[in-house]
Symmetry: C2
């Protein structure tokens, strides 16, 4: 029923159709995108000799083309850089020497963590030198009493979480890419993820940073305190700066007590109004144990189901909610969630629902939500928008978009992190229509700005969305961003072509 | 037994002994402290006429000396400015006009919210024009679904909390001064307070800000999204900047579900090791409902008791812990706290303890902790230090300080927000000893820096601690702070003599 066409995932419609000759290997970014190389020097033998001198051996200075491939292409296979060298420092001192040298020699640098970004912010656009943090993976200190952790920036999120779990702690951040992404990248992108609703963003959880500036100087903001008001809060400038202002080398983070129980409820609802009233009720009654509120509309689920062939625990309804709770006492948590569901049914907030705390069933229900995107990706044209707008307006925008596009596309639908106001608005059409895609983008941009929302909720601007920087920020904010860039990286050697248009 | 001498509260030993002629009215700061007036113009008639033209009537341009007094003296009566005018704008536009004019005419400005700061950061040092935000008190919008609030910066914290409480929400910040302090001041000082352990700091809770820059430009970073990664995070630059980089005019904040039940436990313990093991146990077992962990040593409590004459619910012990829980289900919360106490007793973590959820008793137990400082304040010399250090080292530092000072003082003791690593280290002596105080300060500074701690956990640097800025921050951080100041306020008209030495 659904034509099995080549994937043409369009993040913001900026992503180009992968070349058919390179299935799973996009064409070089410099050929595909209108972007001009900056006035940087080209890598030469003496540069390589210098790097080899610093890093000691060839395993940490990769120049073999086949070794470079995975660093030059992003995880989503959207872009492809043409860097000729990957450097793998192990220490801050080594980073310092590399950066200082690159700055003096006008060599552009692209810092890469786990290379799991969605906006192509961590792969080179041209021939930038790739500075990989993957060997900077030391967990320096876990303070069990304070619930804090100090580590190098290249530690993989999951490894970090595993390390603190032995102390009954949890890293207050969970992402689908946790098996690959680096904590330094999480800080650089202000990663949101599944637990933001409960534990807040990186600004609230980061205690300190060590950053190497573009001139090679080490900026020490590496404090381990939950409370510190002894001057301007410099570290926060680097949170969400996507590698454009400095290279994060060490991270101090606060952790939370690790929950002992986890439950999910899967609910069917009549309308978006009922979705909102149920969310309010859940916030009130589940309070401190609520850890996720995900919404899906009927079309999302139908498409998802057609492909993923997962069993729905309830019948079909216009809307669905997935609520997750996690806490320190299983009996209490079950009791709360069951009482909530009972009264939500009696009070007609929800039409049907199930609750489970059994790990395999919890996982099965999460799969319905998490595997949704797989259901759409092989259709003709998928327009995917990662928006933040006030939850009250969340589904209105889906309806408005549907009305705007009329019968020019097949489906317009929405699902996402309702608890954070982060919507994934999707458009499915038989075939990519450039004019329509541009019109839609203009329409969405206008509405999102009116709603004081965001065109990039959690993915950052990176390379693919950089042109939106001056559009989605006020002129004053934009000006100040440029000033910060000028102060911290006057030669623009750090992650060029990213964030800034 | 305790001589009832004149209060000589010394915050960091910078605070001077109040002049005996001005009991409750300190001498003018310009006479007491070694500080030089900047090259600002003096207020003249034409300036006043301009302000009167903008603000319309005399009630919003105060020039009467008796009206000015409460704006010129800080809440702690530590300092006294000599400003000749208080301006009370109601709108961002009015602020813009004032600031633009002051910048053009080189007139210094001091922004003041509730004037409840501890470091004299919100009162003029010389004749700075006082810009009071007290009439900027409009609550613009509460979004019940998103759990967000948008308001002007002069709204009183308690009023804000009352407004959201009707929607089942709570402002994620609670301070002793909530009846007077302004949300704009809370943002400017990155206020911590009693709920930080549970709900995090202002960086994590602020969604957006509107700021008037020194040149009068409005910097619009006023988004209402929990997730937004569309450029550098400019708003965070102003969090904790204590009025030196811009004037916050509007604030968007996320709220949390309002807890329905509150309990406290008051525990007696044998040693600081037991304090730490009990805290770890509480984190594990009380998890998501834990909302405060306060520690007191025997000396703190003994001195507090002598003066406050409050009944202790348990006998005397070397250490005491006050744990607070708050949640959505009273029965569950009581059950958790009782089980915790029972096993803490059986496992010998604690020697004795009581638990209560009865509001009057909860209040009585909190009074034991909150009224502690009243017990010391009438003694000869009180040295009070608001430090953040790793909790593991928390009490070691009290012991080290005691060993360092030997018999040169009467008592060295500690109490504070253990859950946040925020210690209040106190020294009581018969008489102020300048040399000893300076030695102690040097000693503490050295130890705090070694421990990567903070000399100002929650109070900010303000005027009184400004000289510590370059000492407690790395040279690179300090340099960057000065760069930010230069960019945002090149004429240094905003809150001069504060934060920056």
């Amino acid at each position: 029923m659904v034509p099995n066409k080549l994937l043409r995932l369009r993040v913001f419609n900026v992503c180009k159709k992968p070349s058919r000759g390179y299935r799973n290997k996009p064409d070089f970014t410099k050929n595909t995108y209108q972007v001009e190389r900056g006035f940087y020097n080209y890598l030469q033998e003496p540069h390589l000799h210098y790097f080899q001198k610093i890093l000691g051996d060839d395993e940490r200075v990769l120049t073999n083309l086949s070794d470079l491939e995975k660093y030059n292409v992003d995880w989503y296979q959207q872009v492809r850089g043409s860097s000729a060298v990957v450097l793998k420092p192990k220490t801050t001192e080594e980073v310092t020497k590399i950066v200082e040298y690159c700055n003096a020699n006008k060599l552009a640098l692209c810092t890469q963590g786990g290379n799991t970004g969605c906006s192509a912010g961590a792969v080179p656009v041209f021939d930038e030198i790739i500075l990989s943090t993957e060997l900077m993976n030391e967990i320096i200190e876990i303070d069990e009493n304070a619930g804090t952790i100090l580590c190098q920036s290249g530690v993989i999120l999951e490894a970090l979480d595993r390390a603190v779990s032995e102390k009954g702690l949890m890293v207050p951040l969970d992402l689908g890419s946790k098996g690959s992404c680096n904590i330094g990248g999480n800080v650089s992108t202000n990663a949101g993820g599944l637990r933001l609703l409960r534990y807040g963003n990186m600004h609230g959880n980061i205690l300190g940073l060590e950053v190497v500036k573009a001139n090679g100087e080490v900026l020490d903001c590496l404090k381990l305190m939950r409370k510190d008001n002894s001057g301007l809060h410099i570290k926060n400038i680097f949170v969400g700066s996507e590698g454009t202002l400095g290279i994060i080398t060490k991270v101090a983070l606060q952790c939370v007590p690790r929950p002992k129980s986890q439950q999910v409820a899967f609910l069917g609802l009549q309308s978006y109004e009922k979705v909102l009233s149920t969310m309010r009720k859940a916030r009130q009654e589940l309070g401190e144990i609520l850890s996720a509120i995900e919404v899906m509309d009927a079309i999302s689920l139908e498409w998802g189901q057609q492909h993923n062939k997962l069993t729905l625990p309830i019948d079909k309804y216009p809307f669905y909610l997935l609520l997750e709770t996690s806490g320190s006492n299983e009996e209490h948590d079950n009791n709360k969630l069951n009482s909530f569901l009972e009264s939500a049914l009696v009070q007609n907030h929800v039409l049907n629902g199930v609750v489970t705390g059994e790990p395999s069933k919890v996982q099965a229900i999460w799969a319905i939500r998490e595997r949704l995107p797989e259901g759409f990706k092989n259709h003709g044209w998928l327009g995917l928008y990662d928006l933040s707008i006030p939850v009250t307006q969340f589904y209105n925008l889906v309806d408005e978009t549907r009305a705007y596009l009329k019968n020019q596309v097949e489906y317009v639908f929405g699902f996402g992190h309702l608890g954070d106001g982060n919507i994934h608005l999707n458009v499915l059409g038989k075939k990519y229509n450039k004019r329509l895609a541009q019109d839609l983008e203009t329409f969405l941009m206008k509405r999102v700005l009116e709603l004081k929302g965001s065109m990039s909720a959690e993915h950052g601007l990176g390379f693919l969305k950089r042109k939106y920087l001056p559009m989605v920020n006020s002129p004053g904010s934009y000006q100040l961003m440029k000033e910060l860039k000028r102060i911290l990286d006057p030669n623009h050697i750090l992650n060029p072509y990213k964030v800034f248009p």
